[in-house]
């Protein structure tokens, strides 16, 4: 029973990070119909920028409180990612908006690898230790079930960010413009919406979420390196598809479900396959889910049919 509850906790923590990243995929997909492969790498850029800031702060003001340091590094990482996403959209995706379907997708793959390469140049190819500023000493709310303060923070911060995003999209003028653009570019433009601006903003908002996700991800595992964003990115995309791509609520649900499936899968695969497979196969669950969802329920859990919109 403890193991079962423990897997739920682990799944929720990873799942809420996936959900944050999935929101970025789903927003861009909802508006442009583009899988922004490079979105996962923004997670990495966010984490490594934050790491750089922390290193700097530790040098300048060694006595600074951990919370202030974390906040400051987030305040650097978020704008950096936003700026990067803005540049990316402007230089790589906007010129291809009316190109054949494969062109922006191939560009997106290129951008993703370019970001990884640039990060490799800037930060080297080694794994960096990421300072765990929030305590990682586990507490036991229930006997035998461990959760660390950083994990609690991750769940709370993700929930807050998602709530904020939902408010932004449903209640504000900007949100209405975003929904209108997603519905139909041309008509939205006729209604006076600056669609180019809205599309750029969508990328930028997604990037901010990715930066936060990156910092939390790295804080949880205590490491950061140039390739850390790719796998979570793919899994977050899977989460977005699982929930129904283009649907904000779906992305969150998908993220949490995927996190749970992964953690249960990793926990029980050894028993289920009589020791033939073990937890090193954890990564295949996301891909299997992706395949199954696209084949049997392309609409995802909460979405509309999209598999052949591409």
């Amino acid at each position: 029973m403890e193991i079962f509850l423990q897997q739920i906790v682990n799944g929720l923590v990873v799942g809420s990070v996936y959900a944050l990243v999935a929101l970025g995929y789903t927003m861009v997909y909802g508006i442009l119909g583009l899988i922004n492969f490079a979105h996962g790498d923004l997670v990495m850029v966010g984490a490594l920028t934050a790491l750089q800031t922390m290193m700097f702060l530790m040098g300048v003001a060694p006595g600074m409180s951990p919370v202030a340091m974390l906040t400051l590094s987030l305040l650097v990482a978020i704008p950096v990612c936003m700026l990067l996403a803005f540049t990316m959209e402007r230089l790589a995706y906007r010129p291809l908006r009316n190109a054949p379907r494969l062109a922006p997708l191939i560009t997106a793959i290129g951008v993703s690898f370019l970001l990884q390469t640039l990060a490799m140049i800037v930060w080297g190819r080694n794994y960096h230790t990421f300072p765990q500023l929030i305590s990682t000493t586990p507490v036991q709310p229930i006997e035998g079930v461990f959760i660390t303060p950083i994990q609690i923070t991750i769940i709370i911060v993700s929930a807050l960010m998602m709530a904020g995003l939902i408010l932004l999209v449903t209640k504000t003028k900007l949100g209405r413009a975003m929904r209108a653009t997603a519905e139909n570019h041309r008509v939205a433009a006729l209604m006076g919406v600056d669609t180019n601006m809205i599309i750029a903003l969508t990328f930028v908002i997604g990037a901010a979420l990715a930066a936060v996700a990156g910092v939390m991800f790295a804080s949880n595992y205590g490491i950061a390196h140039y390739g850390m964003g790719f796998m979570p990115g793919l899994k977050a995309f899977t989460a977005a598809v699982l929930g129904g791509i283009g649907n904000l609520g779906g992305a969150m649900l998908g993220g949490v479900v995927l996190g749970l499936v992964e953690s249960f899968g990793a926990g029980y695969i050894e028993q289920a396959t009589f020791g033939f497979l073990n937890s090193s196969y954890q990564d295949i669950f996301a891909f299997i889910i992706l395949g199954l969802v696209l084949i049997f329920k392309p609409t995802g859990l909460l979405g509309e049919r999209v598999s052949d919109r591409a």
Partner: protein, 366 residues
């Protein structure tokens, strides 16, 4: 071949016949020229030929049939591991290449159909990401199937694969012609691979203008219309996947036996992306494009590797960008810039689905 001859600058348009001979002469003379710079460069050429085979195969899937496959390297892996299982001391099985090659081709084709069936309904970006997942799953299995039964030997890979024996010739041994003249084994491999590439070019260029090739082109350009004129798009997609996979499998066998060992590291996502970049860079849907793209993008990183390190040492005193980083930088920039500036690739495919001769014979004028 015709396309390749036409791609020769200046001469191609004026005298295709001469251009064709130029291409053949270059292909035959290339390793001898490379030898003047050292044996490494012959090796680079050998690998370039393997990449050409891969690019030709991926071009079938992406360029002809319009299915973006990001897990193509998995088939390469299937081929290489088949060779490793059936012709190495790992299981102590030593089958000849003539048995291994068809078996590997068969396995790879089966893998292609296995992947093809479930993803038939998907298009464009979804297909891309599911095939990417397939490639990753294959790699994860290669990495971890050393426990509880040791099948793939895990991340260490499998060593000392049997070299290719052709009619009693061991391609991995130098041939001693006389006292001071020996034909290096790299040359033997080069010409063996060249024969494979030439055969593939012949096969694919015939295939392109055949019923199947035209059906693929129709399906790529408009799937709905293709269905409406009676093309069985399901079978055509499966055919594209399995044929493309066969090419991957065959080049995998050649790669494994040439290199002498296989490990999961050679079959990472980056390699899939590299082959895709070659196809995109050269020109999708174009045999000459795939070949030129493969040659440029496999040789250029090697040239950079030899130039960049001394140049950087001279300029900055230490190596700023190591060759592997340069390769990734080159590939990703090639992909982005090509899509932005010249989306049809270096040598754009012309929309010619049938031989002019054939059309004339049928009384269809151009």
């Amino acid at each position: 071949m015709n396309e390749l001859a036409l791609a020769v600058p200046w001469l191609g348009k004026r005298n295709p016949q001469a251009a064709r001979w130029v291409v053949i002469a270059i292909a035959i003379a290339a390793p001898m020229i490379a030898m003047m710079f050292g044996r490494t460069w012959v090796r680079v050429l050998d690998f370039a030929l393997l990449y050409i085979l891969l690019a030709l195969g991926l071009n079938l899937v992406v360029g002809f049939a319009g299915l973006l496959d990001l897990g193509y390297i998995a088939f390469y892996a299937v081929g290489a591991y088949t060779a490793a299982f059936l012709a190495s001391p790992h299981f102590d099985v030593h089958l000849p290449i003539w048995v291994v090659l068809p078996l590997a081709a068969g396995f790879a084709a089966t893998a292609g159909i296995t992947l093809g069936f479930p993803v038939l309904r998907l298009r464009g970006d979804y297909l891309a990401i599911v095939t990417l997942g397939f490639g990753e799953i294959v790699r994860i299995f290669m990495n971890n199937l050393n426990y509880p039964i040791n099948i793939t030997n895990g991340p260490q890979g499998i060593n000392s694969l049997d070299p290719i024996m052709l009619f009693g010739w061991d391609l991995s041994r130098n041939i001693q012609v006389s006292e001071d003249l020996a034909i290096n084994s790299l040359f033997l491999y080069y010409y063996a691979f060249l024969a494979c590439v030439a055969g593939s070019i012949l096969f694919i260029s015939r295939l392109q203008v055949s019923r199947v090739g035209r059906a693929w082109a129709a399906m790529r350009d408009d799937e709905l219309a293709a269905k409406a004129i009676g093309i069985n798009t399901r079978n055509m997609k499966l055919l594209a996947f399995s044929l493309g996979a066969t090419f991957g499998g065959v080049s995998g066998v050649l790669f494994g036996t040439f290199q002498g060992f296989v490990s999961p590291e050679s079959f990472s996502l980056m390699e899939s992306i590299a082959v895709l970049t070659m196809v995109v860079f050269g020109g999708m849907g174009n045999i000459a494009g795939a070949i030129v793209g493969a040659i440029i993008l496999s040789a250029l990183p090697e040239i950079l590797r030899h130039l960049a390190v001394p140049v950087q040492q001279a300029l900055f005193g230490h190596v700023l960008l190591d060759p592997e980083v340069l390769r990734m930088l080159l590939l990703s920039l090639a992909m982005i810039l090509m899509m932005l500036l010249r989306p049809a690739g270096l040598i754009p495919a012309n929309a010619k689905y049938s031989h002019i001769r054939y059309l004339k014979a049928k009384g269809v004028t151009e």
